[in-house]
Symmetry: C2
Subunit: 225 residues, 2 copies
DNA sequence: TCAAAAGTGTTGTTTATACACCCATGT
DNA sequence: ACATGGGTGTATAAACAACACTTTTGA
């Protein structure tokens, strides 16, 4: 999967190395989390980093990103958007390196992390990040800013929740991403007015309190609202 | 400047070709215009296209975009933003091609187009475009959408106007980009409330009518407002 | 009967929109 | 005096923000 960067030294034209990486977000236990991978080669061996790899020859960018996402989480058909292209992530690649970043939103419970010895992955809260390889911290900050914007004017939250969910769960998703608490009444009013969710007849019982009505997203395709 | 794409055939690893292109917008004669270049090689020889070229070895992306911009317009230090990275613009490059698109906003009067026989450039109104090479029409549509969004919540219009300008000139810029006319009073009110421009003591006389007050941008750095 | 989360309306403030006339100047 | 673009205010509607109590359930 990951060819040696050094192989480019053989080439005449010294074309840049092209990589694709994916910032994978989820919301779990009222926290926004991101999937990181521990590097098993230099540079930055042993450091945590955003998962990614080489672009395959002739491979479309979106497919490469979706492939990485499946490799690391097993999920497909989730919200996946191109984030930014970085030209200087890896200064050690003598021929220059271009890294095309994506970000994805996944429902925590639909993910199954790969079990392997090398290149282990784990979820990290955004407020408890380890020190990251390259300038990956800056990339995450940028991804988070984009996600916060998107949340305001699209329905992408669908990609962070199961098919049926309560209004409170939805609100938790918004609060975890925006990093602040929202007024319950205003939140419901706004979400319902936008029409991005549809109430169902079903309810669900968590504990010793009134059962909650279940909702579904009116559309599970990305939409600007 | 433009090496043969075919040269990549010699390489062992078949790394993708990496190109950078720049959608250069301006407003002139109450029209939003874009700078196009006529291709002088195959594929699409003789067709109009968005100006661009190979990324230099080890060259940072932003510098490559700024370099292209200077080559084609002579201007520097204008608003220049990464737009999107396309993986499939040029299907003829057998090893795959990655093209990183930028968009720039320039003041028409500060541009001097290069005079040369080959690869001529010209301004085109967005409502009078020729048929374009590759999927460049789609790229332009995307760039225009981004520009329209940006206009609403940033001060990037500064990059389309000279240091001193009238409120009408500013309104023309907005109208040309948004593609609809705006109410004069509401426009002034909003722009002044946002504080992105500062009135000066100077006025200017165009013709047989009341002189117009000149404004400057409060900041000529991109700002979110 | 108590604890815990679900659910529900009203009011005030801010923001956006629609709309028409007078002003300063050159010819 | 007239043609031309510059400049100004008000009223209505819509969106947003602040805020507290009742309901249903399990223990």
């Amino acid at each position: 999967m990951t060819r040696e960067v050094a192989s480019s030294k053989d080439e005449k034209a010294r074309q840049p190395v092209v990589a694709v990486f994916v910032v994978i977000f989820t919301v779990h236990e009222q926290k926004l989390k991101v999937l990181l991978i521990r590097r098993d080669i230099e540079p930055f061996r042993g450091w945590w980093a955003i998962p990614g790899g080489r672009l395959g020859t002739g491979e479309p960018l979106d497919e490469a990103a979706a492939r990485k996402l499946v490799e690391e989480t097993g999920v497909r058909d989730v919200y996946l958007e191109q984030l930014y292209t970085f030209g200087d992530l890896d200064r050690t690649a003598s021929a220059g390196a271009v890294a095309i970043g994506y970000f994805a939103l996944v429902d925590y419970d639909s993910v199954s992390l790969p079990t392997r010895e090398e290149w282990p992955t784990a979820w990290f809260s955004l407020d408890g990040l380890p020190e990251l390889a390259f300038n990956n911290k800056g990339v995450l900050d940028y991804a988070l800013r984009r996600l916060r914007y998107k949340l305001e004017y699209t329905n992408v939250a669908y990609s962070l929740l199961p098919p049926y969910f309560t209004m409170s769960q939805l609100q938790t998703v918004y609060e975890s991403i925006l990093g602040r608490s929202l007024d319950k009444r205003n939140f419901r009013k706004r979400i319902l007015a936008l029409g991005i969710v549809t109430p169902t007849e079903k309810t669900v019982l968590f504990g010793a309190h009134r059962p909650a009505k279940l909702y579904t997203f009116s559309s599970r395709q990305p939409q600007i609202i």
